[in-house]
Symmetry: D2
Subunit: 328 residues, 4 copies
């Protein structure tokens, strides 16, 4: 492989997710294996603009495969959305001798990379790192599997106390635009109802369903609610509504929040990150650019970033059906 690329930059961008460190490690180690230089860029595009760089060798990523968060830090960066910001970034990269970069992040981060590639012809490669699993072209984004495990473990704990008091809990999980986490943890935790952005169950049907659940003899009820659920009510408003229309329940609310982003990555996310990191570097060295590494049918694939950022992975209607049947 006689590539012109001699030095690759790597960074994380946007919301952090478990597996990002494993992906950084994989990019760094693949560079070391192929005798390419590797540079860590801190705080995403912000650090790129400021020249916040650090050379990384194979040992610099020891013992991070199992750590949550990102050792390179992450940030959202307004300045990179301006032509001026991107020019500064290009100058910093050039000054450092960086020939290409791997961005680990979500669709916002990918969009920046794509524009940058189009403006400067700079080789870029994306690795999908976000717990939301909302990127087209991959069945899994890094962190989704871990986040689902984190949430079901917590709902298991909430179930303990809910069952002991015959209570109803509304549990809000992440997912502003997509319901992948909500739907999977809802099925995985045996939730009585699942409210997601893609479907409008309707408040009345919710109340009907809860009434049925109570009648069937269940000792507790958990309703999983995605942040951006279609009903458009916060978990606190849902609590009020149900207390008014279904006074048989003692209702509680739990907003899980940022703890969903943290924690040691699952084995799946670690392995996926390792595979994607290798593929990202090798693909850059093959002279390709503006692509995202994904996984489909357990094989690594490449999708143009322009396509990856447009679509969402669709909610699986079969899984919604499974959920309905399971709450019998």
């Amino acid at each position: 492989m006689a590539s012109k690329i001699k030095k690759i930059g790597v960074f994380t961008s946007g919301g952090d997710s478990p597996g990002m460190n494993a992906a950084i490690r994989a990019v760094v180690r693949t560079c070391a294996f192929l005798k390419i230089n590797c540079v860590g860029i801190f705080r995403g595009y912000q650090g790129m603009i400021e020249g916040d760089f650090k050379p990384m060798d194979a040992r610099s990523v020891n013992n991070i495969i199992n750590k949550g968060g990102t050792i390179l830090k992450s940030a959202r960066c307004q300045e990179f959305r301006t032509a001026e910001g991107r020019r500064k970034a290009y100058e910093q990269l050039t000054a450092e001798g960086i020939d290409a970069f791997v961005v680990i992040g979500g669709d916002g981060s990918f969009t920046g990379a794509m524009i940058f590639n189009e403006e400067y012809g700079f080789p870029v490669m994306g690795i999908p790192g976000t717990i939301d699993n909302d990127i087209f072209g991959t069945s899994n984004t890094l962190g989704f599997d871990t986040a689902c495990n984190t949430v079901v473990e917590i709902i298991d704990k909430i179930r303990d106390t809910a069952s002991s008091h015959n209570r109803l809990f509304f549990v809000e999980v992440m997912g502003r635009d997509v319901g992948h986490i909500a739907l999977n943890v809802g099925v995985g935790a045996g939730a009585e109802e699942i409210l997601i952005p893609e479907e409008d169950l309707g408040l009345e049907r919710l109340v009907e369903s809860l009434k049925r659940s109570k009648k069937s003899g269940k000792s507790s009820s958990i309703v999983v609610v995605a942040e951006g659920d279609k009903i458009g009510k916060s978990v606190f408003e849902l609590k009020e509504y149900v207390e008014e229309h279904l006074p048989i329940y003692d209702v509680r609310v739990s907003v899980l929040g940022h703890l969903q982003r943290g924690g040691a990555p699952s084995c799946y996310d670690r392995v996926l990150a390792s595979r994607m990191g290798v593929k990202a570097v090798e693909t850059l060295l093959e002279g390709k650019t503006n692509l995202m590494v994904g996984i489909q049918n357990n094989e690594l694939t490449l999708t143009p970033i322009s396509k990856a950022i447009k679509g969402h992975t669709k909610i699986d209607s079969e899984l919604i059906r499974v959920s309905d049947i399971m709450t019998t």
Copy 2:
């Protein structure tokens, strides 16, 4: 031991806590061991009033030592606060042939037992089961150790994402009147500040402290806040205040809520529950009553319920000092 007690009732009351099932198991198995009958009373005093009883033998408590919540359910009961309610309860107990009971719960539940004992001369024994660790006469209540582990594990996860984004998090933990959970998890999770009901740090000192922490080069800050902290502001108000007075921080909030009550009990809580259950039954059979089993200096002790419900275990001032030094 020639006791007149032939049948002991056992129940859980008030908020549930990890270790309650292990205590139920211990009471049931000790009765079986001593050839005494044992009856489970469901839903605390409410079930007692309604005669919701079930005989329990040694096998009925198989495989529950590691389960959170309580298989006997728990409830708060207004009716038992009335003389009429207690009369009904007494009639139900008598009808069932129950001679004495063990109540697993907190100070509210103990108060009910004490009054009942005074009115009817009915032998009662208390086991302290609450995550708050706010009962006088025992260094640990059942569930406190587990709840602390649950919370530090979650703050570890929050730390991952906080560090990745250089953020400040206010994390609200349980403790309306006492700061034991907040203080212990604050020290255990390396929190930068800890706000508890017993001490008024003051908003200005909080801001000063956070400023210093930022200056010292820390990449994230966690402030643990007990529900009933002395400053008297919710975590949401604290967020607003700090954002206004210390705009260098990106501030987030996490309210942990009921998940703190659930989960498999720690080894410590399982062992403590087992020891307390044995002691409670044996003490009743010795003809004693109106006492709470506690643990002090790793030995089981007995404290009159009247004393147990009056005081709180004091916050350890040495631990507050340790916390101050650790945040250097």
Copy 3:
């Protein structure tokens, strides 16, 4: 759907795996949803022969989705391998009015079902439940994902102590014929070498690799070894060999054993089990038989049992390459 099937039996067979309970729950609830009777068969084929049956309604599977093991128990059964044993089983099923069954297990259990189907024309459907992931026709068997998580968490702990003492550990994981667990946890835990039944690394190359690892400045080394690794040495023999040929290392051994089978299933395994349970019942009601439900490219598929038991999912050679690169 006007099926002649009115009563479906469900059982678990062979080695247990996390997710079996979730699959039982899914079969039972799908039957309830479709107003079909469902009967639990205890201890696999042994219980079938003995008529150890219990009718199951929707509530009988409350709160088991997150439990490891199997509430229906499992067993290996010699008698069912005989024509006489199968005849008894058929009589018991007929006497109970069971029209079809769902077997949750591995290839041995499937073989039994296939023969039974061929002999008696009895409708059977398989759900792959084994931690080994060694069944053809599905990318994942129930329990594999959970087992991988269990093992990486434990190797993370071993890494703590290995790093503190600059030690080399040989960690034996399950996998007599296939190296899926070993390869995935090896990559996921950042193992320095991975020994699997499918590849003969050779003892000399192992020693060379460990020498290189030590030289590169790593503070500890973990070698993951599948039970049936090709080198054909136990971890204890490997320890001896390395101590003799590479005396720079302080070597320890850890045999993980049966703990790999237990534990609460991961979210992935719970969801997969729920989906497979629904599909198994619906496929039987469509009049199909002698098939195994699998998952491929995130879609449920059906594979003739005769094919499922013949092949193994192949070890992914790309993943072996990733492993080699990661240990740079």
Copy 4:
């Protein structure tokens, strides 16, 4: 406090245990708080002899409170047992300007410190760090609580598979001379029998007890065995014996080994480590020496090292009784 001590060394020695990092952090931060210099000594006495030192400021111990193992590494060191070795160590300490040290370890490490203090009048202070809980003068050593939690979680997993197959498991846990881990996890995991170095149950009584357990209808049996149990048989020999004398059981063995040393420390161990670290530094600055910091009745205490290394904390006979009653 006008102490002559200006620079304190800190190190970990012997087998590592969870909480050691939290103790290092506490020593370092207390020094920073009191404006004393602090130096980390790598690999215990070995690094002391070799002058493997590194100055540590408050930030150097960021984010280690929740990490297992020890960032300063640990080792056993023969050379320090010789007068010559200790002389070299003294010269290295003097050359570096270190005035006193805090040793985190077990009785072997303490003995070395005591001799060193007697020979050179060098101020030394001990913090008990070992999972075995076998040091006199403290109710808890660092790591004991965590190790107990690690083991009960694993036995919970083993119980899943044991129950599914009606099996008997012998589980070997650490404890060559003392049975604290075995006794506590045995009670905490609901083991049917517990074999410890302090008591000789006798093989016949073991078989009797297992027979009774089977008869009583239990679906599985777990026997927890300390490494150094009095019966003097390995778990493999116990398996053979029981298979021969009690053929009703399908027997399996699990040797937990080093994984018991690793993992994130429990909240209790983190808090205890923080308290002990503060106390160790402050006590040195008060001009005291040759003491071990301990915890008794939830208060920090000081015990002469000469006494700490002589006795063991006794096994609690009440807890043995509780264990007997619980297995009814």
